[in-house]
Symmetry: D3
Subunit: 313 residues, 6 copies
């Protein structure tokens, strides 16, 4: 029983397993009894949980980020599995390997690094290469651990670099198809476009928006950072302007937070590629939990559409 993981749980299981508290909220039942509503996670997934019989002295004790030994039953609520906690025992985080409790990219960090570095080397324009290197140097550690979003797609450790790498591969192919595209500008834009998320989001494990993230947004954070780094390097040329434009316009529409719309072909393509990689990842996740011949629930990030999983899949 002890070696079970989130992905293995079934309706009716009795479990005692170590899990990380991803989220925790207090509630009170109709009858006035307090309870805790949690999200519990290990490296294989995340699951909703309720702790109905929480005692008064426990009620403020558990925080997001703690690792605990959970004794519980698994049951099905509204067609989704749920953990009913009967007992929680806090563990010393120093004795645990955090890696066991966080979902992470299917691509190893070394492979990510190798391929990203390869992409940087493929940039021949001097300004672009120097700027990309300077920015990545500043955010090196976080770049390989941060997620690409808090909820919709690539929201796991290494998600940011995984998303960027997927886009680099698409970008390389499209540069060959469409000679109109400036390879160096497109690849540089892909590498930098989402790095502001390292400031916008709170961390690779517990993903929340920071105050700065809410008040400025990752697009403006990154654009200002790039400008500041460039000025320190005494760079102030059209390439810098174009790269700033790539970052500013990559959401493609005003209402998604881009203050300018794409005005060079590479910016348009950056937006289109970003879309493709995010959407494919989002649909992949949604299809995991759905039977062939049925529809997913409505997906907010896909304009609230449901998707059909064909019978022969």
């Amino acid at each position: 029983m002890e070696n079970k993981q989130i992905k293995d749980l079934n309706n009716g299981d009795h479990i005692k397993m170590k899990l990380l508290i991803f989220q925790v909220n207090k509630g009170v039942t109709n009858k006035g009894a307090p309870y805790l509503s949690l999200q519990l996670q290990d490296k294989t997934g995340v699951m909703d949980a309720k702790y109905w019989n929480v005692s008064e002295d426990e009620i403020n004790k558990y925080k997001a980020g703690m690792i605990c030994m959970i004794t519980a039953d698994v049951l099905s609520h509204n067609n989704q599995l749920q953990i009913r906690v009967s007992h929680i025992e806090m563990l010393d985080r120093n004795n645990e390997d955090l890696a066991d409790f966080v979902r992470s990219s299917s691509i190893g960090k070394e492979e990510l690094k190798y391929k990203i570095n390869h992409a940087i080397d493929s940039i021949r324009n001097d300004t672009y290469q120097r700027l990309v290197k300077a920015v990545l140097l500043e955010y090196e550690t976080d770049f390989y651990t941060y997620p690409a979003a808090s909820k919709n797609h690539h929201n796991f450790v290494g998600g940011l670099a995984t998303h960027v790498l997927g886009m680099v591969e698409l970008g390389e192919f499209l540069c060959k198809q469409y000679p109109l595209l400036d390879h160096d500008l497109l690849i540089s834009g892909i590498l930098l476009h989402d790095i502001g998320k390292i400031v916008e989001l709170s961390g690779p494990v517990i993903i929340e928006y920071t105050i700065e993230g809410k008040l400025l947004g990752h697009i403006s954070i990154m654009q200002a950072k790039l400008y500041e780094i460039a000025r320190r390097m005494n760079i102030d040329n059209e390439e810098l302007t174009l790269l700033r434009h790539m970052i500013l316009s990559h959401h493609g529409e005003y209402e998604y937070g881009s203050p300018v719309l794409p005005m060079v072909p590479e910016a348009e393509m950056l937006h289109l590629i970003d879309n493709i990689d995010a959407k494919m990842n989002t649909m992949e996740k949604a299809f995991e939990r759905v039977e062939p011949g049925t529809f997913t629930p409505r997906i907010f990030a896909m304009e609230n559409r449901s998707f059909y999983k064909a019978k022969n899949k």
Copy 2:
């Protein structure tokens, strides 16, 4: 002088050359004098023209599609070259090679056919392959000559097949990147999605919307045709439904004439690829006429944006 082509014309040229009348409209000047406003074309391009001193008996004589010997001056009006016609002589179309007067794909028809056939062969699902073959058989000749649109992108002879081939190449790459995608469904959707344009548009040379095209639209025309062909072949299964869905949803938004939005990943991808290939072709065309360091005019098909051609291009 006689061997000049549209693409070679310069401000101040005096010309006498054979051109096809692509469009013709009658007008009357402020002073009450009639004149003709034309678009004249050869295989290298198209140019606006005015025939100010048209005589009364000439006024109803010239029609779109005629090939004529044009005597004229070339001058610059609002920063665009314009042909000022001084004399028109109608030629016998039977003595001319129409190919000299129509813009066409940079890919030869044989290459297009070879590659399209190769794509069909790559479809392993029997239903999909039979349906695609049956439809293409019915529209074979036109498929390789029709344009993909009347104005924005690929509006030349062979434009439809050229657009489809570009999309097939993207589709093949993306199926490798994203295992979620059903290769056979995506490629089949790409091959069929725009064939309704053969009914919607009037022809490969003079491109106008037909009455049927306006009242029904190429999406609904193709969907009904596919259903009718399938029923004749006694096909009525989920593959047919999915393929009809691909056609119906490929414009991606209600206001662009899709009665349903994409609900399978392949339909979403078909829409995204269609977008990419159309947009890149549109920007390529717009950049042809623009100096580095300046902006294109606003492009209606690109949400009315201007695009900047970088100085180092």
Copy 3:
């Protein structure tokens, strides 16, 4: 007690009556106890129900469409009557007359048929009459039993034909008022416009969207069917195009699933009449449950407006 019907129930009633399960969903209470949430119906109406003390072996036993003997109390929850089930006994559907359990049109089937046939006979144009007859022949049985919608209006047995008949009567009057209208085209469009719902919806009693219905929509289903039938009859003329256009455009706006907007007066009128008949039926239903001098709840199908029932009504 046994002869009571849904429409007669009052707060505080103890009932034992035969009802059809229209919908059923599983739930779990705060305390972890499973329960069933149902919609129970007879020919006089439909009512929400809860079965709190459902046993483990009953939990997966009841399905939509079953007829059961229900022992229960009726009480008022949030100002609406609700059935609290204490016991369910499954009955053999073969021993019951389904007609006792389904809501249906206030107009008898024979009268519907007679009047619809009369409308068909009033079409003098040969193409229109032959097409309408051929389509109705193919869907004859279902046409007189299907509902016109799953929720908003005419969602009862015979609702589709009732809706069509109401529109035919309006159409006949309007053709006399406005000589611009082509009577035969308008009446033909009215008769055919919603027949695709027979494929889009699952059936006359348990009304759900089919997979084909979701992926294609009744508009495109009908348009393709009409084209296929016409081709089998060797019809391919402007009348066919106009009738296909009527079907495609009858929702009147892109975002309601019409890929083209009305472009002939008859199509515009078809859309307007459809609207009138659906809206009047929707308001009639909403007013049934509301006291004079008060407002209905917001009605989603009426752009989320509330309606006021005047004091003197």
Copy 4:
């Protein structure tokens, strides 16, 4: 020649006829020469005109509303007939019968009055009948001469009453079809809804928006007038509120100037009937000038759509 009327004019005609100046604007040609751009009208129609060789002392002489003897040629400009004025002679309006120069309803004024009075008599509710009579008494003369709009539909003498009568006939029919509707409220609303146009527009012949019309709009003008009249009659009951609501909501959408949306079934129906009668009249007018088998120009008042006139019309 002298007995020709606007509707009889053909390309190439030389004319000398009495016409009313419906609109007049000054212009200057490229070469600096002044000219006048006019709309000239008789009771059979209206036509654009240019007066190129206008002299300096004539330039400020002609005003909308004057009746003149026009010497001119008729020619075709952009596929529309146009009058090229060579000479204008002002006539004394007192010697002319204005009725010869204004387009008017095809229904005679006496018939309009008789039918409108019949509609008033059909209202049995005392409050409604008294209010309708009081309002119509106040605007009696203008009610039978004003147009219903400045441009789109029923923009001729008697257009307002003609539009109202068409709506009354629809309303009577629909009250029989849908018992939900309160006949007296609906007919009263139809009779009063547009009377504010008598203040909003400048007059039956020369139709312009008044300052009050622009700043307040006919909806608010009529609602305030109705309230003021009712208060003078000491009426202050729910019927008054409902009738005010009918007037306020009859445009059906905020952006068309209704401050509240329809909230009683009669208000919804008033809006729908208004729409039908206005749209049918608009399409009828547009079809007059169009050949079977072709499309009308885009019609702003029909959401900018073109309409197709079928070949067999």
Copy 5:
């Protein structure tokens, strides 16, 4: 304990205090037990309450507007304080001073009256001053007790006059800054613009929309009233039209119920000032309940935005 007030309550308090029932709704728990959901208020604030153990004979006894002795516990539910009622005892409203139970303006009624009268005196244009005086005379009592809105801003006794006074002070300053503005028209518009709320809302304490309020809206109510009063005074000039326009347009957008948009500078400014005063009051209220360094919940009346309370506040 008895002298505690709403604003003093803390988690864990046991209370017995007099409170006014601001709102009351019946509910039924999962287990079928009835309960009451209330809003209880005194002059210092308002708080949600639950009465779980309500007896059958109490269930229909309590109404909005009653003053009761409440025995209860205070506890924290979803981070908000809530009153858990254990016992309710109805009190005789005649023995209580209503003023103890209603929230009211921080500005005394006498000061409000003095300053409003001062504003009226500052109007030098005779028509404006007479109209403003006549309207205020008709609504004098209510003008100083009504709220300015049911929920968002100034929803307390005297809120209407407080809002108007705040706007008058802004208006006076802006007239000095921008000579374009007609002081008398702007101040008159400010004084009258929201008086229709006295008819639209049910009263100063229990604030609900009246039927007339819902069917007509305060904008149209006031406009008609102003017109009626003016006609009684034999006023019918441009000033009256301008003042009616100010009232009609002051919501600034069609979808907020203005049938015309501002077309004079004073109307534009009235709309802008209304906005400023309402928004500042709304944010002030939201910030009361929020810790520095955190965000408010989303505020519907502020386009659903959250607001950040800076750390140094």
Copy 6:
């Protein structure tokens, strides 16, 4: 004649005066003759001009920014005065005082500087004051000469500082009215919000968008600049974040280029004040050219509304 200025010109004047070419475009008449379309300006205003008889060697000679002696007639075209140039003589810009040819603020530069400095001194928060001083130091010269916009409002020399000063005065007043507002944050935001226009626009006299301006926008330019300056000063605190947020959000809506919406009360107020000052200036300009009792043309920057100038103005 020579001392005439733009504001003094009348229909029929013959002029010979020095004017600056504000804009110049080439055209060709119907007859093929080239001409120039110009905007000519002095310090009192700007006027459209045509140079019909331009010779071939003059056609490319005149550029925006040149000062010339213009011989011409003034005439009225479409109710607006227009200059018909008969002769142009280029003057040496070094011999002319540019100040004679540019429109500028009605407030002198010294007064602007004095009042702006006073506003800076009123900021007590150390971070805000240091940041504002550092930015203004960097742009000191341009801050007092640049316009606030290219077309709509304050588009004259010194317009930027004039606009900012007007907003400062409003801001000071509002801080007193609404204690919720942090004076130092609001005034700092007002002072900095538009300084990015110095990079976005080409200069104080000839106002065009720069390439950087188009690709980045003044909002993002300023935000990055502020961040860069702050980092050089080793400032990185919440005040910096709030000030960056003020700049980013001051357009108030995504579609006007703000990547985040206002989330602190000062940001909301900055947006509202910006609106007031810009709109009042825009209406003031529009009313200059309009007679009392008439409407302005539609003003694009005022949501395309016309405004009415009351008769008593």
